[in-house]
């Protein structure tokens, strides 16, 4: 029945097409098999995916500023061949070829840079995009740090990818020592209740999954919105007033520029404002889960507990 529907000419062309396609199919599958198996290695990323990488990684593209900072911090900056327009630290990151911003990278430019691995910052970023890169035999490594431990993990992973395992371990050891010192200094002190104002209008704050919630806890504080689901929830103004925080942190400066430098109207009647406990902290230290997050931790601790760091 089905064959009757075919015209002769059509069935011939279908046959021809099949004949023509088959050799190409073979070539393709040959190309995909690894040339020398021993030169490959496998590592697992934060999304639980097994990634196959060449033993020596010489060309890396980073799609997030925190990852760029980690790459430079472990001494692999010379292997970074592409990053985003948000990547502005260290200074050398600005000179690296730009592939767009974190949310809208140019697939063509990334492919043209021939990276061996592309590092991305959360599992939710660019699912389709990841598939397209994998079809080009470009490995995609996903990092997803939710706390300071996650940052240490990212640093070690990037050290492993770039073959800078020792420098990464040293860096983690150093950062861990600084963070431990902060935690130890503030551990015995009463917790300061903090409202983290991500933006005033509309009012956004840090929720359960936000990286900064962990920083505030380690700095001897307690985010009053630590139990709110999600990372960056839009928050009710009246609930914000009702939390009546002891201190308000405004992430501002850095790539935020002058943005978010005043307290939301709803919070102006809180104890924090009447006692002058509103603190502006460099957003780049709080929003980027990279090595400078420990700077952010120290800055938060110093404003929440100045008495512990007066010497």
């Amino acid at each position: 029945m089905l064959f009757q529907a075919f015209h002769h000419r059509q069935s011939i062309s279908v046959l021809l097409a099949l004949l023509l396609l088959s050799p190409f199919g073979c070539v393709r599958s040959e190309k995909r098999t690894p040339e020398i198996v021993s030169e490959q290695r496998e590592i697992t990323d934060d999304a639980g995916r097994r990634i196959t990488l060449p033993r020596q990684v010489e060309r890396v593209v980073s799609l997030a500023p925190n990852l760029t900072e980690i790459i430079f911090a472990v001494g692999a900056g010379n292997r970074l061949v592409g990053d985003t327009s948000y990547c502005d630290y260290p200074e050398a990151a600005k000179a690296v070829e730009k592939v767009g911003d974190t949310l809208h990278p140019s697939l063509e430019r990334i492919i043209a840079l021939h990276p061996q691995v592309v590092l991305i910052s959360t599992a939710s970023q660019l699912e389709v995009f990841t598939n397209q890169l994998q079809n080009q035999n470009i490995a995609v490594f996903v990092t997803d740090p939710h706390d300071l431990e996650g940052v240490y993990r990212s640093i070690n992973q990037i050290g492993e990818i770039t073959g800078e395992v020792e420098r990464a371990a040293d860096l983690v050891q150093n950062l861990r020592a600084r963070a431990d010192f902060v935690e130890k200094s503030t551990q015995q002190l009463p917790k300061v209740r903090v409202f983290y104002q991500l933006s005033a209008e509309p009012l956004y704050t840090a929720g359960k999954d936000a990286f900064v919630t962990d920083l505030i806890r380690r700095a001897g504080g307690q985010s009053v919105t630590a139990d709110v689901p999600g990372a960056w929830p839009k928050y009710s103004a009246e609930s914000a007033l009702a939390t009546n925080p002891d201190a308000i942190i405004l992430p501002t400066g850095g790539s935020m520029g002058e943005g978010n430098s005043s307290v939301a109207e709803a919070l102006r009647r809180t104890a924090a404002v009447s006692q002058g406990r509103v603190y502006k902290i460099n957003d780049d230290h709080l929003a980027r889960p990279g090595p400078r997050a420990v700077d952010g931790l120290e800055e938060i601790a110093k404003v929440l507990h100045p008495e512990a760091f007066s010497r």
Partner: protein
């Protein structure tokens, strides 16, 4: 889609005195009922929110118009009168403005689908507000002014585009609206891409319509514009009734068509502009509410315009109360709620009509 039915010219002339009296009492009764419902909604919605307030004390304090604390703590009192009540007031004003503007456009353009959001007029106001934010960020009075300008430009563009040599058809108007909407959406996307990351976040949220950032310094202006706008459009209701017969017939019956058209376009743009500057583009209010008003009270604009104003206030108060309590203490944009209620209701009306 059936057009709203209009009385024939003969009917209007012969029985005008009788209908006037009937219309007046009908207007007073229906608007009185809506006003009572509105007051009940304002009071009852003031009692719910993400924070629980003692009901009796809150009621007592509300009845005293904020002069008595009635045992509320300072913080509870602030929540009630500094945050919740101004927001409900803004909801009412935005709802009244958008619904009245919708009723005005529908009568003037003789098209039941004419709505600020669907014609791209809200988008025009949004582009205006955005430009004010980018270039005059510190000067907040620039927002409603630019929003009004944007709304007026969008209104005139849609009107010009819709009027070809063959005159305007309802389909042509909607197509013109689609073109203006998509063009302005592209402008919005273009500008937000150029803006820095933090402003984009607040802007995209705000484009859906959001009443959480109730700007108290602009609230009195928004209220004044709404009151003046509703009164002017209601005062032109008789002319709008005659315009439903067609512009030529209305002209023959003594309506100054050009003057009425300018008044309606300017006032409706002002209403849309001031509400978009205060709360972003809250969709479907200008569509659903005037439809319901005409469906239940008839197509006489002398009744349906004031009824739409009160009904719009009621509609947005309820929608925003859902938006701020459904997933408390987190919040939803009110525009998502009005669309969720409005779109299915509109489909129902379309099928029924």
């Amino acid at each position: 889609m059936k057009q709203a039915t209009a009385p024939s010219p003969a009917d209007l002339r012969v029985s005008s005195r009788v209908t006037n009296r009937v219309t007046l009492s009908k207007t007073v009764i229906s608007c009185g009922l809506l006003l009572v419902a509105l007051v009940i909604a304002i009071v009852s919605m003031s009692l719910i929110g993400s924070e629980h307030l003692p009901v009796k004390a809150s009621l007592c304090s509300l009845m005293s118009l904020g002069n008595a604390r009635c045992g509320l703590t300072v913080e509870q009192f602030d929540i009630l009168f500094q945050i919740r009540f101004p927001r409900i007031l803004l909801s009412a004003v935005v709802g009244a403005s958008l619904a009245t503007a919708g009723a005005g456009y529908q009568a003037m353009l003789r098209n039941p689908l004419a709505e600020p959001y669907l014609l791209g007029i809200s988008n025009g106001a949004a582009v205006g507000t955005m430009l004010a934010l980018v270039f005059f960020g510190a000067f907040e009075w620039s927002r409603p002014v630019f929003a009004f300008a944007g709304a007026l430009v969008a209104t005139l563009s849609v009107y010009r585009l819709a009027h070809g040599r063959a005159g305007a058809t309802p389909e042509r108007l909607i197509l013109a609206g689609v073109i203006v909407t998509t063009f302005l959406s592209s402008v919005i996307v273009f500008v937000t891409t150029l803006m820095d990351a933090t402003r984009i976040r607040s802007f995209t949220f705000w484009l859906l319509g959001d009443l959480s950032g109730t700007n108290r310094s602009l609230l009195p202006v928004t209220i004044c514009i709404a009151v003046v706008g509703v009164v002017i459009l209601a005062a032109n209701a008789r002319a709008l009734n005659l315009l439903m017969l067609g512009e030529r017939d209305a002209f023959d019956l003594g309506v100054e068509v050009k003057r009425v058209r300018i008044v309606v376009f300017v006032v409706a743009s002002l209403l849309v502009g001031s509400s978009v500057a205060a709360s972003g583009s809250v969709g479907y209010v200008g569509l659903v509410v005037p439809h319901l008003a005409r469906l239940s009270l008839g197509s006489d604009n002398r009744i349906s315009i004031p009824a739409a104003a009160l009904g719009g206030a009621l509609f947005v108060i309820i929608a925003d109360s859902i938006a701020r309590t459904l997933i408390a203490p987190r919040e939803l944009p009110v525009g998502a709620i009005t669309a969720l209620i409005g779109a299915p209701l509109f489909i129902y009306l379309l099928k029924k009509g």
